[in-house]
Structures are given as C-alpha cells and as structure tokens.
C-alpha cells in the first residue's frame, strides 16, 4: 500500500458516505425515512437487492472457492430465479396493496398481533446477531492484510455505515448501494483482467477456459443426488429455492429493498432482473477465481495465502522448517510452470495425447503441492496456537495486494469495504424499521407523530449499529466464522419461513394454530441445538415443516372443538 492507494481508498469511501449523507438528509416523515418515499425505479430496486445480498465475504471468499474447488458453487444459486418468480406473483402485490412498512406487519393482517410480534422478534434475534458477523468477517481479513487492529477496523466500518444510514434511512442505503455495486463490479472485473493480462502472451482468453476445463475447474453441474454433497443441482434448485424464498420473502433486509419500489411493476421488475442477473454475476465472480488459478500456474503462488500469519510463524522456532518447505515448494513450482506451458501449447495445437500427458503430470505435481502446503499449515498451527490455518479466503486479496498496480490496490480495498458497508446498511435499516414499526410504534407508543417516529428510527439504527459492533467483537470467540453464521441463521430461519409459508399459501391455518406451532417449532430447534447431534443445516427444514405440520394439526383440533361447542 502506498499513498496513492490510501488516497483512492479513503477518497472513494468518503465520496460515497459524504454524497449519500448530503443527498438524503432531512427526511421528516416515516414514509420517506423507512420506504424512501417509494420512489425507486426497477433498476435501483434490483441494484439494491443485489448489493444487500453480496456482502464483503462474497467477494473475498468466492474467487478463493473457485480457485480451490472449481465452479460448482454456482449451483447454489439456481433456486434464486425460481424464488424471484414466486415472490413476484405472491409477496410483491400483497405487500404493496397492504401498504406495509415491514414484512411482519402483513402477519397481523393475515393472523393477529401476537404472530406479527413473534415474527418480528425472531427476525430481530437472527439479524441482530448476524449483522455483527457481516462487519466482523471482512474486518478480520482486512485487519490481517493491512496490519490494523481488528477492533479499529470493526469500528471504522460500523461507524461509516452508521453515519449515512442514521441520517438518510432507506434512501441513503439504496443511493449509496448503486455506487458501491458499480465500484465492486468494476474493481472485480479489473482484477480478473489483470490476472489475464499477466499470463504468457500466447494464452488467449478462450485458452484460459479450456485450460481450466482440462484442469477440472469447470465442474459447473453435478447431476448426482447426494445428500452429503453440499453443491449439486438438486440442493441448488430445491434447497436454494427454500432458502431464497425465506431470505427474499420474509427477511426485512431484502423485503425493505423492494418495498421502496415506486409501484408493484417497479418492485416486480427489480426482483425479476435480480433473477436474470444473479447467476451470471456469480459466474463472473467465480471465473475471476479461475483466472487467478490459471495465473498461478505460471506465477509462483504463496505457499500459504495468509502471509501475515505465516510471518508470525516465521518469528518462532518453526521458521527453519517452513523455510525448508518453501524451498521444496519453489522446486515443485518450476516443474508445474513447465508442464502448464506444455499443456497450454497442447491445447492450442489440439494435441489430445499431449493434453492427457500434461494433465497427468500436473495432477501428480498438484498432490506434491498440497502435501507441502498441509505440512506448512501444520507448522504454522504448531507455532501459533489457536491460529486458523484455512487460507482460502485470503487467496484473492493476497493476489490483489501482490500483483495489482498501486492505485488499483486502493480501489480493490474500497470494493471490500463497500461490499461490507452495503450489506450492513441494509441490515441496520431493516432492524431499525422492524423495531420502530412492529415493536415500538405498534406495542409501546402508538400516539407519536411522524417526526417522533423518524427520530426513534434514527435512534434504533444507531443503537443496532452499536450492538452490531459489540457482536463483532464477541464473534472473535467463534471458532469457525461461516459455521457460526449458518448456525445462527438456521436457528431462526426455518420457523420464520414456516410462518410466512402458512400465511401466503395455506389459508386454512389461522393465528392461534400458527402461533403455538411456531413456539413449539422454535423450542424443538433450540432443543436440537443444545441437546442433539442433528446437523444444523437441517434445522431450516425441521423448523419450517414443524410450523406447517403442527399448524395444520392445531387448526384441525381448533375447528373440531369449535364444531363440538357450536353443536352443544
């Protein structure tokens, strides 16, 4: 990092935060503050939805995922377009016609106050904890790369978001997200192009595609039905459909985005274009990881991508061992580079025999590389007790820091900060909306005027931002970050989805039945978490099935009791 990078990084962030704050300050009514006066055109709704979903960890982790594991992660998103269609037909017209501020407000219209409050409470628990992780995850990586204090990085991101989210509410969130997403995509594509331009001159863009394919990285579709395999077409279509129905239909951080649409048409088009663009967008991000993979066939990759952690290990008695392994790694790379060159030539000449020979050699070189890397990781784990030696999330950012020219490094760091800020802003905005509308305005103080509720919303936004920063500090204690996020999500999403599925599609189930079903379902999920070994990813299905199943049973029971009473 040099001065140019710092100027670009802080200049970009200051421009976005400053412009967002200045342009959207002064909302005097609750419609303006929480729904942005419902003025958003479809493209703005679409950008806002995409920016909310794509957190910093998406841009840090996804290229690393492709680098290590190929393109198969893309299947995870196949359920999303289907969810967009279903929600465009059902949720969008319903929410718009009822003129709701939050998704949970609809639950009172469909059921009653207690179901609305329960839905809002479960959402606040889920999102209140996970917003801390949204800040913490990129803070951890940025603090490591920039050698900053982790608490300082957390406070820096949290405070920047707080400034414009408190001042401008929903308008500020969507306005800044437009610029943030533009910077994110421009930065990511530039990084991919730099990886490509640094390949040997004889390798064309089409060659990178064939090279990656021959190396087994274009494993885009897996048709086998295997419950133990996380990414196949079936888990993507079925599991993804449920996950995205729940996320886009019942999570206020997304519902709030399309509720700001000018009309049903604008909100619907926003969702439809998200359905059209999301999979190609993931394809681009994953392919950037593939380009980095091809790049590292011709350039020396670090033996361990979290170089900061490796440097710490080099200060210990393990330094000698790590150095020895690095020398071995250098030797292996020379062989790899030669074989990769031969494979590239064979691909150009379409020499099938040579392609197979080179692939075999590269496969055996890859085994040696993996062996050396795992020995390095063991040495690091031995020298820095408690250190996380998973370095997949550092592959892309390390490439950026090492190979991008100055100026672009600053831009790419602005990408990561922007992504962290855009998803955090939506989450804080959703938490404040739900606290104000579903709890404070509905059950605590019903007599305030618009200005009072705007002020309350601002206070709740600031309050949730502080809580998020505190959770981000506690997250440090969590052994595995992604697992922690998934566990928190799985504890509540199943029950919330069950309530909304009953509300949208099962008219038979009424308020008492769904309320008690949801309470029991949530208790069962918490019991499973504390007292059983059931895999936490199953909590989503268990929770949702329990709410719907028990709801149907309780309703049948209630109906039969009523019939008996009526008869007597």
């Amino acid at each position: 990092m040099n001065t140019v990078d710092w100027v670009i990084l802080f200049g970009t962030l200051a421009l976005i935060v400053g412009y967002g704050t200045w342009k959207t300050k002064g909302s005097k009514n609750i419609d303006g503050y929480l729904l942005g006066d419902k003025t958003m055109p479809w493209w703005s709704v679409c950008l806002s939805i995409m920016a909310t979903q794509a957190s910093a960890i998406t841009f840090l982790s996804t290229p690393g995922q492709a680098y290590e594991d190929g393109m198969r992660f893309m299947q995870f998103y196949f359920g999303l377009p289907l969810a967009m269609v279903i929600l465009s037909i059902t949720a969008v017209p319903l929410y718009h016609r009822l003129k709701v501020y939050t998704a949970y407000e609809y639950l009172e219209t469909r059921f009653d106050l207690k179901v609305r409050s329960l839905g809002a409470f479960l959402f606040l628990m889920l999102r209140g904890i996970s917003v801390g992780i949204t800040i913490y995850a990129p803070s951890l990586i940025l603090a490591t790369i920039l050698d900053w204090n982790i608490s300082l990085t957390t406070i820096f991101i949290g405070s920047l978001v707080m400034i414009y989210t408190v001042t401008g509410g929903t308008k500020a969130v969507s306005l800044t997200q437009k610029y943030q997403l533009t910077i994110i995509m421009a930065g990511m594509i530039t990084a991919g192009l730099i990886a490509f331009w640094n390949l040997p001159e004889s390798i064309s863009f089409a060659d990178t595609f064939r090279f990656a394919g021959e190396m087994g990285k274009l494993n885009m579709i897996n048709l086998s039905f295997d419950l133990t395999d996380r990414y196949n077409i079936w888990s993507g279509l079925i599991g993804g459909l449920f996950l995205f129905l729940s996320y886009f239909g019942a999570d206020q951080s997304q519902v709030g985005r399309y509720l700001g649409g000018k009309s049903i048409t604008e909100s619907r088009l926003g969702l439809i274009f998200n359905g059209l663009l999301k999979v190609p967008m993931q394809l681009i991000i994953l392919y950037i990881g593939i380009l980095v993979f091809v790049f590292y066939q011709f350039h020396q990759a670090p033996v361990f991508h979290n170089t900061s952690l490796k440097e710490r290990a080099m200060q210990t008695a393990q330094a000698g061992e790590i150095q020895k392994l690095e020398l071995e790694y250098d030797q292996v790379f020379l062989k790899k580079k030669e074989e990769a060159g031969q494979l590239a030539s064979a691909i150009r000449e379409n020499n099938r025999t040579q392609i197979e020979l080179s692939k075999e050699s590269l496969a055996s070189i890859s085994i040696s590389e993996r062996d050396i890397r795992s020995r390095v990781k063991e040495s690091i784990a031995a020298s820095v007790p408690g250190a996380n030696t998973l370095d997949k999330d550092y592959v892309f950012i390390n490439f950026v820091m090492t190979y991008l020219p100055h100026g672009l490094i600053g831009l790419l760091l602005a990408v990561v900060f922007s992504a962290a800020m855009s998803s955090t802003a939506s989450e804080l905005n959703a938490l404040a909306s739900t606290t104000t509308v579903d709890i404070y305005k509905r059950s605590i103080n019903r007599k305030g005027n618009d200005l009072h509720y705007v002020k309350s919303s601002k206070l709740f936004t600031a309050g949730w931002a502080v809580i998020a920063m505190i959770f981000a500090s506690i997250a440090n204690q969590a052994e595995n970050l992604i697992q922690f996020v998934n566990i928190i999500g799985s504890l509540f999403y199943g029950t919330i989805l069950g309530i909304f599925l009953s509300a949208f599609y099962i008219r038979y189930i009424k308020s008492n039945a769904v309320f008690f079903a949801a309470i029991i379902a949530e208790s069962v999920i918490l019991y499973c978490y504390f007292f059983t070994e059931i895999a936490f990813l199953l909590y989503n299905i268990i929770g949702c099935a329990l709410v719907v199943g028990l709801g149907l049973i309780f309703q049948a029971f209630e109906n039969s009791v009523r019939k008996v009473k009526d008869a007597s």
Partner: protein, 41 residues
C-alpha cells in the same frame, strides 16, 4: 401461473411472459453449463 394483478408490465403483454423469460434463461444456463461440464469429463 395466474395473472396476479391488473398492472400491465412493460415490453411484454403479460407478467407471465416475464416469468417464462426468467425460467427460460435459467434452463438455458443450466443446459449450457451442463454441456460445458460434460465436455471436459
């Protein structure tokens, strides 16, 4: 699929056309990616 609202969509005559477009694009992408995957097996 049912016609859920009387609001007319842009470009197409009905919303159903938009929904079929989204699903058609998804099917096209899946088939394309399947072809790419199979090509390198």
């Amino acid at each position: 699929m049912t016609q859920p609202t009387d609001e007319k969509p842009p470009v197409f005559k009905s919303w159903n056309s938009w929904y079929w477009l989204v699903m058609g694009v998804l099917v096209f992408q899946i088939l394309l990616y399947l072809f790419i995957t199979q090509s390198f097996l």
